[in-house]
């Protein structure tokens, strides 16, 4: 298990580095992307999807393709809307506040705290009121 933890941390570090170098941790850059004033990061995203797609095909060839099953469910759209709104407000897709903290941007602590509260809040709502079937037990 220790090996897995190390490996996970290595990939996390790589992703953090990548997000920072692309500019995803910079609110200015994000704003430029979301208002279509600068398409660079949008192209990055689309390009990443294409490369990811090719990568998954390769994984299939060597028998290591993981199951990726994401059906449409009750929370798909609304959850997306909440997330997108929050992203535009705080600049944080869930990885970003951590990257920002690494860069030295202390206010990101507030964002991260907000994320934790949001996660707890949803799990409470799901348990108490919604019981929505999200289609899969896996994250």
């Amino acid at each position: 298990m220790a090996g897995t933890i190390v490996r996970t941390m290595v990939v996390g570090t790589w992703l953090g580095f990548t997000l920072s170098q692309i500019g995803f941790s910079d609110y200015d850059q994000l704003h430029l992307m979301f208002t279509f004033q600068d398409m660079r990061m949008l192209f990055t995203f689309v390009g990443a999807v294409i490369i990811g797609s090719m990568g998954f095909h390769l994984l299939a060839k060597i028998g290591r393709r993981p199951k990726v099953h994401r059906p449409i469910h009750k929370g798909t759209i609304l959850g997306g809307v909440f997330f997108g709104a929050g992203w535009a407000l705080s600049g944080g897709c869930p990885a970003v506040p951590l990257v920002q903290l690494g860069e030295g941007t202390l206010p990101a602590l507030v964002t991260a705290a907000g994320i934790v509260i949001g996660v707890v809040l949803f799990q409470w709502v799901q348990r108490r009121h919604l019981n929505w079937d999200t289609g899969s037990c896996l994250h």
């Binding site: 609304l78 535009a88 705080s90 994320i115």
Partner: protein
């Protein structure tokens, strides 16, 4: 080509795309940061689940035997003929039900410590990048546009925005990595729809916010 030391789009695409399939290559499952946040919040449950996973992976033979035992107990000691017949019919109708999956390896669950390690790694990666760009420094401010938009409401925007992100990604079951990257590159309907939703919302809100500058 290089925007203030940041990567051109194609380099970023390569790096990000590589992460998308690199994660499953190394760890047997897809990368989803919202899932890791959820996993850290559910620390105890995740730890139990990771233990169970490790236990079964350690001795698959014993696990199979335990399963057989549990099934027999459920049926009261022996498999009734009708059930036996139904099982055989099931196997005949769908041979896949009885063959080990060839395309997916069992995920190596690191448990909540693994998820935490990932989140910490994100910060470490950010630090390294900032140092590489000569920009590493402690700061109590976000970038200029942010403050131009929110002024004194900055911390509130961060807190509320973060809350929406945490809440929404759990509701949708994924984030920009899980749905946006892994899901769309596998053409999963839920991910495509969710990605469209969050990108759409982010664009709309950003445009509205832009008017406040």
């Amino acid at each position: 080509m290089f925007v203030e030391g940041l990567w051109p789009w194609w380099l970023g695409a390569l790096a990000l795309g590589a992460t998308c399939f690199g994660y499953p290559l190394l760890l047997g499952r897809t990368c989803t940061v919202s899932g890791f946040w959820g996993g850290v919040v559910n620390w105890r449950q995740e730890r139990e689940a990771a233990r169970a996973e490790a236990e079964l992976a350690a001795n698959p033979q014993a696990a199979e035997e335990a399963m057989l035992e549990a099934v027999m107990a459920e049926l009261g000691g022996e498999i009734p003929e009708e059930i036996q017949a139904e099982l055989e019919a099931m196997a005949a109708a769908d041979p896949e039900l009885s063959t080990p999956p060839s395309q997916s390896a069992p995920p190596r669950t690191a448990g909540p410590w693994g998820y935490l390690a990932f989140l910490v790694g994100l910060a470490v990666g950010g630090f390294i990048a900032a140092v590489a760009r000569g920009e590493a420094s402690l700061s109590l401010t976000m970038s200029p546009t942010f403050h131009a938009i929110f002024g004194p409401g900055a911390l509130l925007a961060l807190a509320f925005g973060g809350l929406l992100v945490g809440f929404g990604t759990q509701m949708a079951g994924g984030c920009s990595m899980g749905h946006g990257l892994s899901g769309t590159s596998n053409l999963q309907p839920g991910s495509l729809l969710s990605t469209a939703s969050f990108m759409g919302a982010a664009v709309v809100v950003s445009m509205v916010l832009g008017r406040l500058i």
